[in-house]
């Protein structure tokens, strides 16, 4: 049993935290995050140089990480800085490409940006309900349908698309330039896109891709959990600073027990969130990955909303303003619940395990 990070991961964590703190602070982040393309190409390149993308793939795929713990370390740092760059798509795409043994040099170097398109308007989370279909045409395939909430899709060069082929979800590669892409900034910053496919040429990467897609979704969900832990830590620390300095009735408001106990409850939920994320990370490559990832996303959905709403409440007005960073953290913490399966969706997945038992 060892809860310390390896030296390599600690160094990566330190350098990412330092870089993002110095070069990508919240005021710059806010300039990037809420307007298309929700992306700063220079900073993206620098983050790639620091290894933020190489850490997402195992050594035999050209990276230097690729485990759940590597994903956890990278995304926790991104969460601390509320970073809007499109790493989620890269992380999921890298998992898929590792599974099919595709070369991912251009993904890991940051030269080519990838997004993964699974969810649809009427079925945002499920692999089972995909309606986007693939048809053989000439030597290849064409895809038709609409993919929804494709994170990073607004700047992606390549989109990995889940589409039905012979009654099974298959994995295709689509060049962004071949599809109709409607990008948008999100409420909580960062970009996504609706991807419209209409006889769009696509390269088949894997015919029966349900397991590979589930794995990619698990990895992406773990990434979101780690991001939430990072964002919750900063939100809590900022709230504590405020409780120590803001005076009313002649004393710092942190002297009031009603606020102290609520601040403790935030701490408790954050530690529980950190624990379940560590557990999910440790199980990502195991047989029960879906179960533990769902446990993590469910708990974090509850905790993140509590932390966000309590932080706003305890700041009493100031965190309602655009200018104060906590407002942006709070938005991210609430909205990430709806990414790749919300609390209820993941609770159902855990419940399904009870039924089978």
């Amino acid at each position: 049993m060892d809860f310390n990070l390896t030296e390599d991961r600690r160094m990566l964590q330190d350098s990412l935290n330092r870089y993002l703190g110095d070069k990508y602070p919240v005021d710059h982040r806010n300039k990037v995050a809420y307007a298309l393309p929700c992306h700063d190409p220079d900073k993206w390149a620098e983050m790639a140089e620091l290894g933020a993308l190489f850490a997402l793939a195992p050594e035999d795929a050209g990276g230097f990480g690729g485990t759940g713990f590597d994903i956890m370390v990278v995304f926790e740092a991104l969460g601390r800085a509320l970073n809007p760059e499109p790493l989620l798509g890269a992380a999921m795409a890298s998992r898929l490409m590792t599974k099919i043994g595709a070369d991912q040099e251009v993904l890991l170097s940051g030269a080519t940006k990838y997004a993964v398109a699974v969810g649809e308007v009427e079925a945002p989370y499920d692999l089972d309900s995909i309606t986007c279909t693939a048809t053989a045409k000439g030597a290849g395939h064409v895809l038709s349908g609409r993919k929804s909430a494709v994170y990073g899709g607004q700047v992606a060069d390549v989109i990995l698309v889940a589409a039905m082929l012979d009654g099974k979800p298959a994995l295709f590669e689509v060049q962004a330039s071949d599809a109709q892409i409607a990008g948008y900034p999100m409420m909580d910053g960062g970009g996504a896109a609706e991807v419209l496919l209409d006889d769009t040429p696509a390269k088949l990467l894997m015919a029966d891709a349900a397991d590979a897609l589930t794995d990619a979704l698990n990895a992406g969900t773990l990434a979101l959990c780690a991001e939430a832990v990072g964002a919750m830590d900063v939100t809590h620390a900022t709230t504590l600073d405020y409780l120590r300095t803001r005076k009313q009735f002649g004393v710092p408001i942190g002297k009031f027990q009603v606020l102290q106990h609520r601040a403790v409850d935030m701490l408790t939920e954050i530690e529980q969130s950190r624990s379940i994320t560590i557990k999910a990370a440790s199980e990502l490559d195991g047989p029960d990955a879906s179960r533990f990832v769902s446990m993590a996303k469910n708990l974090i959905g509850r905790a993140a909303r509590l932390v966000a709403e309590e932080a706003i409440q305890m700041h009493g007005g100031i965190a309602m303003t655009w200018e104060y960073p906590v407002s942006h953290y709070a938005k991210r913490l609430v909205m990430l619940d709806a990414q790749l399966g919300d609390t209820d969706y993941h609770l159902s997945r855990v419940m399904a395990g009870l039924k089978a038992a």
């Binding site: 049993m1 102290q260 601040a263 969130s273």
Partner: protein, 395 residues
């Protein structure tokens, strides 16, 4: 990071598991499983079995006859004991007074009392809380006045767990009423056979007799029974409360409770299907299971830290708060799963041939009510929040 136990820890777990399978009498584990009364004789028998193996005083150093386990080994042992439905080791002598005497007691006190704790000669109980001093323990009023070679003790203690079995009590008494609250308290050992002591049962919410109140009227106690220095008892009290908090997450008990709830929900049918497939009930089980899974890791993280730093930190209060709330939720689910079958008052079923509910579950309502205590004792969850406010949040 690596969440798995080391090979030697797994070997240790297997050794404990095998030992329990071999040596824990079924009569005793059945009583624990069924939530029936654990008699004094049963508890003493179990203590004696563990003592023969050298596994009774798990928190003691090797010098004093403890097994010298790491925090992880202690954790594994406790988890396995829960898994096997072994009775919980009665903590007052073994896990509270023992460590206190080792840290603060005189050589004479150690030599005399520690072996008697191990072999069961003495059954200790705790004289801390008073009717007017609960969370604010330092406001305690029980007086010990020095008269020659004796203290004369007057006052009242309460919530004395299993005091009805005890022959000895350790007490916090006020020895200097003029000093500031925490500075006039002493830690004194009292033989319950001393004239002037009366123990009265307190009947608890579910009807059981688990705690007592103890009245002291002009009780003469030799000065030799003072532990540590006079008026320095508060340091000992705090030390002891820290020991009381270790293992307080009760992860093993919650895992046991979760399995019970699941087993019950598979047997009981509602709306034409097993209760475990009812979406509302299944959601409650699943959420409790998720919280418990996180709790297990939080517990291991703190064990790991304790192992590295040599002592548990203030963050163990998180374990107390969350651990008790999860356990209470599971006890609530067990009660709700049974529905009306949980209603018969414990012991009210005169025909021993009729089972109410699946085996051992008829006490689920009683257990639910009894377990409301866990968020109150050992420093209420609100006090734990105060501790965390000071130590972790620095507000």
């Amino acid at each position: 990071m690596d969440l798995s136990f080391a090979p030697e820890e797994i070997a240790f777990r297997d050794e404990v598991r095998a030992y329990l399978a071999e040596n824990l009498p079924k009569r005793i584990s059945d009583a624990v499983r069924n939530g029936g009364e654990q008699t004094k004789e049963m508890l003493e028998e179990w203590h004696a079995i563990l003592n023969r193996k050298g596994w009774l005083a798990t928190t003691w150093g090797v010098d004093f006859g403890g097994p010298g386990w790491t925090p992880v080994q202690k954790h594994i042992f406790e988890e396995e004991c829960c898994r096997a439905y072994a009775p919980r080791i009665v903590p007052f002598g073994l896990n509270m007074l023992g460590p206190v005497l080792q840290a603060f007691g005189s050589k004479e006190q150690q030599d005399y009392y520690l072996p008697r704790i191990l072999d069961g000669t003495d059954w200790w109980c705790q004289g801390y809380s008073e009717p007017g001093a609960g969370s604010d323990l330092a406001s305690l009023k029980t007086r010990a006045v020095r008269e020659g070679d004796h203290y004369i003790i007057n006052g009242q203690k309460t919530w004395t767990t299993l005091g009805q079995h005890a022959n000895m009590i350790f007490c916090l008494c006020r020895t200097d009423p003029a000093a500031k609250q925490q500075e006039g308290i002493s830690f004194i050992l009292v033989d319950l056979a001393t004239p002037g002591i009366e123990m009265r049962p307190i009947r608890l919410i579910e009807g059981g007799h688990e705690v007592n109140e103890v009245f002291f009227t002009d009780v003469r106690v030799p000065v030799a029974n003072l532990v540590g220095e006079e008026n320095k008892g508060w340091t000992i009290a705090k030390f002891l409360l820290t020991h009381e908090r270790t293992g307080i997450a009760g992860v093993g008990f919650s895992m046991q409770s979760l399995e019970e709830v699941k087993a019950l929900a598979r047997k009981i049918r509602r709306a034409g299907r097993p209760l475990i497939e009812d979406p509302l009930f299944a959601a409650r089980i699943a959420q409790a299971e998720i919280d418990l899974e996180a709790m297990k890791i939080t517990n291991l993280r703190m064990l790991f830290k304790a192992q590295q730093q040599g002592a548990p930190g203030p963050e163990t209060s998180i374990l107390k708060i969350k651990g008790t709330v999860i356990h209470q939720e599971l006890k609530d689910l067990a009660r709700r799963a049974l529905g009306p079958v949980a209603a018969p008052f414990p012991g009210s079923m005169t025909d021993g041939n009729i089972m109410f509910g699946p085996e051992g579950t008829a006490n689920n309502a009683a257990r639910y009510f009894n377990n409301r205590k866990t968020s109150i004792f050992g420093g209420s969850n609100e006090i734990q929040r105060n501790i965390l406010t000071k130590t972790m949040l620095e507000l």
